[in-house]
């Protein structure tokens, strides 16, 4: 009897396995595949979900509105990482060998670190918009990494510039106390070298207060804040850590007006639960939010109105949703750019998409065509610069919505450049690798 049930379940497994194997065998030629690593479960899900929805909806919109990229249809598959590095690596291995794979956006700094070592051999580009490895800005050392539009270093620098401006001059920061409350992981630790450099230059006092991941317990950290009474708190959190920090700040009585978050600590899920309690809290903004931009309108029209939307319609146009859209838009534009060189209407390989990412040039006109006017600033990458743009704004939560500040800030090259150079040189030396040859730029 038992043997029969065993045989039956074995047969089921075989049947399922064969049905699973079948579609990949008959994969059609003209499809560009976008692997989507995401996390819809776990402590980071509130922030991971809108991001993943934005990424997916944009691809659906491109297929529905334009019929793909110059006729090449876009396919995609999502894989749940739960923000865990080992599951992320598994997802990467699962999706990287699909035909026509374009690029990976791992959605997590930890996974980015692990994949950085792997993409070199697999020849698939890695885009990490506003996160990941800060030194990867140096395209001559990191051929396959693209920290587009900003890294933790540019973000931290912009925050310091903003504080300087608020005080009435960078020199006024001398003697001020700035505390960094950070997620105790590579994500939270990345900005430290830059902040230390800035502290040395400007003479402010930097105290580093770690919060154990995932950040639901921050009593000890905020006790330190209460004792130190810093002039400003920089919040480097993600997921549930952000709302917890705001609640703790409220409980400690630390003014939210003096708290500044990175762009990963500046979305609706971070402040919604705290509501009025988070009033006055500031955070960096890489992009605008809202449903006014044309690209969001197009998604609503071509995807959500047809009942094809990935998530709830109300969340379309939220901060992280829009960021997902931008990430995917840049990815799709890289494919388009690569097609201009390697043949329109063809499926691009990872190497060709990499060239596209390295030669992205989106000016105001192109952004308008994409429906991204006002959402982001023009971006242009090169062989040496894999970031393309280092501009950001500061936004403030008024209790019900985010209000963007008027000033755009650009990270100070004088500070970022030498740091990136030393960092990437150290990385290359540790790995016994050499810089890319200038002739390699055309490949």
């Amino acid at each position: 009897m038992k043997l029969f049930t065993l045989a039956r379940s074995a047969a089921l497994v075989v049947a399922v396995a064969s049905s699973l194997a079948a579609p990949s065998a008959f994969a059609q030629a003209k499809e560009q595949f976008f692997p989507l690593l995401s996390y819809r479960t776990g402590p980071y899900a509130p922030n991971g979900v809108p991001w993943a929805n934005g990424k997916q909806d944009y691809l659906k919109m491109i297929n529905a509105r334009d019929g793909g990229v110059n006729g090449v249809k876009i396919t995609f598959e999502e894989c749940e990482t739960g923000y865990a590095t080992d599951r992320g690596v598994e997802c990467y291995e699962r999706l990287k060998s699909k035909p026509g794979v374009a690029l990976f956006d791992p959605q997590a700094t930890g996974i980015t670190f692990a994949l950085t070592e792997k993409v070199v051999n697999d020849k698939v580009p890695l885009i990490t918009l506003g996160y990941g490895l800060s030194v990867a800005q140096d395209g001559q050392a990191f051929k396959w990494n693209f920290p587009l539009m900003g890294s933790y270093w540019t973000g931290a620098d912009i925050l310091i510039q903003h504080l300087g401006k608020k005080e009435g001059g960078m020199d006024k920061l001398k003697g001020k106390k700035i505390a960094l409350v950070y997620h105790d992981s590579p994500f939270g630790k990345e900005p430290i070298p830059l902040l230390e450099e800035r502290a040395r230059q400007l003479g402010f006092d930097l105290s580093k207060i770690p919060v154990t991941a995932p950040g639901v317990d921050q009593k000890a950290a905020w006790l330190q804040v209460r004792q130190n009474r810093p002039d400003y708190v920089l919040l480097w959190g993600w997921g549930v850590m952000n709302s917890t920090a705001l609640k703790e700040a409220q409980a400690t009585g630390y003014p939210r007006e003096k708290m500044y978050g990175v762009w990963w600590a500046g979305a609706e899920p971070d402040v919604k639960d705290v509501g009025e309690g988070a009033k006055g809290y500031n955070a960096l903004a890489l992009n605008t939010s809202g449903t006014q931009p044309k690209v969001i309108q197009d998604i609503l029209k071509h995807v959500h109105d047809k009942g094809q939307g990935t998530g709830p319609k109300e969340e379309v146009g939220s901060v992280l949703y829009t960021r997902g859209v931008i990430i995917q838009a840049l990815g799709v534009e890289a494919v388009r750019r690569a097609q201009e060189r390697f043949g329109k209407g063809k499926v691009m390989t990872g190497e060709q998409v990499r060239w596209g990412l390295e030669n992205l040039s989106l000016d105001d006109k192109k952004l308008a065509a994409l429906g991204l006017t006002g959402v982001i600033r023009p971006i242009s990458t090169s062989c040496a610069d894999h970031m393309g743009s280092t501009w950001a704004r500061v936004q403030t939560w008024d209790g019900s919505k985010w209000n963007l500040g008027a000033d755009w800030y650009q990270a100070d090259e004088q500070i970022i450049k030498p740091l990136v150079k030393t960092g990437s040189d150290k990385y290359l030396a540790d790995k016994k690798l050499t810089r890319r040859d200038p002739s390699d730029c055309q490949s």
Binding site: A45, T85, V89, F113, A114, P186, K189, K431
Partner: protein
């Protein structure tokens, strides 16, 4: 019919005490090794290697180590993740700080460091037992988390706290291809598992089991509890440390302390409990169950639901994965509380009579 020891006479103690006394078992083991070393590399795809086989081998090794401590010596440990972390970070430091350090030596030295670390945190076992010991070993876990997050020296002063290795080589052969990684892990696993099997069959292993079954009685008949317990901690953490090094070097490539969080400790303990306490074989079953099953569920659930004609979202898949996985653990523990290894033993017993019971 086929699986019978009839007619196989042993004429020496040596023959009677070998690991596999029955001819069929020896053949089966030989076939298994041939399949593992030669057939699998010909058949498996890149994905199967990197995402399933290599993690399975590494966790099997770790589970063998934990089984020595928990299954054979009866000392419940929740510090396995920490021992893995010490193995990984120590191997990393040997590897990057000493020029020309061979990979195998670095991994083994990592294991030695984990061994020392394990012995220090095994000291409480001389006074406390059972659940209290589990709590005491948890201290090792938190200590390691703290150590590798805070002391920058261990991470080679990397600003982000994440470290990485690349261009691994063994005897001049590159370990970049998945097959090479697989073979490397398989060789290490085979050697260490064989050593472990022999260790638990020998005098030391019997001391461990005596301590596990009743430490007072064991002490009365002349077994030194301190030696037995600390040697179990030492051997176990060495094996777990080597597995940690492999996990970091071979599978992840770049890692942070979170890769060896308390979750790993729990996972390893579950592997041992589900696979079968006090069984080297069980460690392999447990590792397969815990490592492969979630991935298999994640892959097959969408396919199964699509057979019934509805799409399932990524979020529901991962929720369902957890639910089914949890359900299976409970089911297995009810059906066979002694683990999958016991199920295997029962199967073998039945096979002896098959197909003519009576």
């Amino acid at each position: 019919m086929f699986y019978r020891e009839n007619g196989q006479f042993k004429t020496s103690y040596r023959a009677d005490q070998q690991i596999l006394p029955i001819l069929q078992d020896r053949i089966a083991m030989l076939v298994l090794l041939v399949v593992g070393f030669a057939v699998v590399p010909m058949l498996a795809s890149d994905y199967i290697f990197r995402a399933i086989l290599i993690p399975f081998l590494i966790f099997s090794l770790a589970a063998v180590g934990v089984n020595i401590l928990v299954g054979f010596c009866g000392q419940i440990s929740l510090g396995s993740g920490a021992f893995m972390a010490v193995g990984a970070y120590a191997a990393y430091n040997f590897f990057v700080r000493i020029d020309g350090m061979p990979l195998i030596l670095a991994l083994l030295l990592g294991g030695v460091c984990a061994m020392l670390f394990g012995m220090v945190f095994g000291l409480p076992s001389l006074r406390v037992k059972g659940l209290y010991l589990a709590v005491a070993t948890l201290a090792a876990q938190f200590f390691a988390d703290w150590l590798f997050l805070r002391v920058q020296w261990f991470t080679n002063n990397s600003s982000s706290g994440s470290v990485s290795v690349n261009n691994l080589q063994v005897f001049g052969l590159s370990l970049e291809s998945p097959v090479a990684k697989y073979w490397f892990c398989l060789v290490l696993l085979s050697v260490i598992a064989l050593l472990a099997k022999n260790l638990v069959r020998g005098a030391v292993g019997r001391e461990w089991m005596a301590i596990r079954d009743m430490d007072v009685a064991a002490a009365v008949i002349g077994i030194r509890p301190m030696f037995a317990k600390l040697s179990a901690f030492a051997v176990s953490s060495f094996v777990v440390g080597v597995a940690g090094g492999l996990w970091a070097f071979i599978y992840l490539g770049a890692w942070e302390p979170a890769a060896f969080s308390v979750d790993q400790s729990f996972k390893l303990l579950f592997m041992v409990i589900i696979g079968g306490m006090g069984s080297i074989m069980g460690s392999f079953f447990g590792a397969a169950f815990i490592v492969v099953l979630p991935i298999a569920l994640n892959l097959f659930l969408p396919a199964i639901t699509s057979l019934f004609g509805f799409e399932i979202s990524t979020a529901s898949v991962s929720h369902a994965e957890l639910m089914v996985f949890g359900g299976l653990i409970v089911w297995f523990l009810i059906v066979e509380p002694h683990g999958l290894a016991k199920l295997w033993a029962i199967g073998k017993q039945k096979l002896r009579l098959w197909p003519f019971p009576h």
